[in-house]
């Protein structure tokens, strides 16, 4: 997960396989997740990333459309702003599902079964989640979100320690 998600996710989960990508390279959480998904096909890899972050690395959609394996699930938090740095607006006409389609994600990925969808309510997301977690992908899901709560403080330290903790959780170290 990256950006605003990294502040909120620890409030609901502290699992050893959670990985906060903040400060690990602007816009590249999906690429990092793609690498893990390729390395560990027996696991589901879930990426939570922001729409602003995706704009920083749009080519990654094309790479996903070509290489992403069936165990990769990308959840794009679409709040139409660079929320973490002051909620400056994104270019207003950008359409993320259309970008993913044009990048070849739908019907693409390494499986040729990539899926692009936009889920607009929490109820529909709860309904779709069991499918998204079990169905062969890769999946690229756009989730329109808004946040009215103050953001928790940033806490990103010990980058080397955290990446090794993740490797330990994966049984590598």
């Amino acid at each position: 997960m990256t950006m605003t998600t990294t502040l909120q996710w620890p409030l609901v989960s502290q699992h050893e396989l959670d990985f906060d990508f903040l400060a690990f390279g602007m816009g590249h959480a999906g690429d990092f997740g793609l690498g893990i998904a390729l390395a560990r096909p027996e696991r589901k890899t879930i990426v939570l990333k922001g729409d602003g972050g995706l704009l920083m690395c749009l080519g990654s959609l094309v790479t996903m459309g070509r290489y992403a394996p069936g165990n990769l699930l990308v959840l794009l938090m679409e709040n139409r702003t660079y929320e973490m740095v002051g909620a400056q607006p994104l270019p207003p006409r950008v359409e993320f599902t259309a970008l993913a389609h044009a990048a070849g994600v739908e019907g693409g990925g390494a499986t040729g079964r990539g899926k692009v969808e936009r889920i607009t309510t929490i109820e529909d997301f709860e309904k779709a989640l069991p499918r998204l977690l079990t169905e062969e992908g890769p999946h690229f899901v756009v989730l329109p979100v808004s946040n009215k709560e103050p953001l928790p403080p940033v806490n990103h330290k010990d980058h080397a320690g955290r990446i090794r903790k993740l490797r330990k959780g994966l049984g590598i170290e």
Binding site: D31, F32, I36, S60, H159
Partner: protein, 184 residues
């Protein structure tokens, strides 16, 4: 051969070196070292290496759109227990600085890099103007504190093993630098 410490050292090496390593022999060295994936974006000097890797069933070739992606994917592969090699022209390192900082140097991920030194051959031949990519290559690697060794011909291929071992022992990125286009 030794760790390169400056342009003078490279010039002395190249004077006795074959101009460019064999792509087939380079691939063999990559496989001997147990690399599982190669991430590279084609460029004119590495195209023959790209070709032999693409045709090899034992190595997975990944061609992202830009080098920052390559570096982040490689970091994910390493985190998941695989062993990727990044083949990147120095101009790609310039583009991917934040990814290199965030996914390699900061978290101490032992990224293995094969960096194409664009403009090296022209500079050695005295062709003008000097490619600025040539000029900035060594200062840039030194600024990142990335140790590197040169491969200017087949006799330099053992440097791959030294680079690989250094990355493992230091848990930090390490590089080999190729000064000429690959030969068949």
């Amino acid at each position: 051969m030794r760790k390169a410490t400056g342009i003078t050292a490279h010039r002395k090496e190249s004077a006795t070196s074959e101009r460019g390593a064999s792509a087939v022999k380079t691939l063999a060295a990559i496989k001997t070292l147990g690399f599982t994936h190669v991430l590279m974006i084609p460029d004119s000097e590495s195209r023959l290496l790209y070709q032999v890797i693409e045709e090899d069933p034992d190595i997975q070739l990944i061609t992202p759109c830009r080098e920052g992606e390559s570096i982040a994917i490689a970091a994910g592969l390493w985190t998941g227990g695989r062993k990727p090699l990044l083949v990147v022209q120095i101009t790609g390192i310039m583009e991917a600085g934040d990814a290199l900082r965030g996914c390699g140097l900061g978290p101490k991920v032992p990224l293995r890099l094969m960096v194409g030194w664009r403009g090296y051959g022209g500079a050695q031949a005295g062709r003008m103007p000097i490619d600025s990519a040539y000029t900035y290559t060594e200062p840039l690697l030194n600024a990142w504190k990335i140790p590197y060794w040169c491969i200017m011909g087949d006799e330099g291929l053992p440097m791959l093993e030294l680079m690989d071992r250094t990355a493992t022992e230091t848990s930090f990125p390490a590089a080999v630098v190729t000064g000429y286009a690959f030969r068949p």
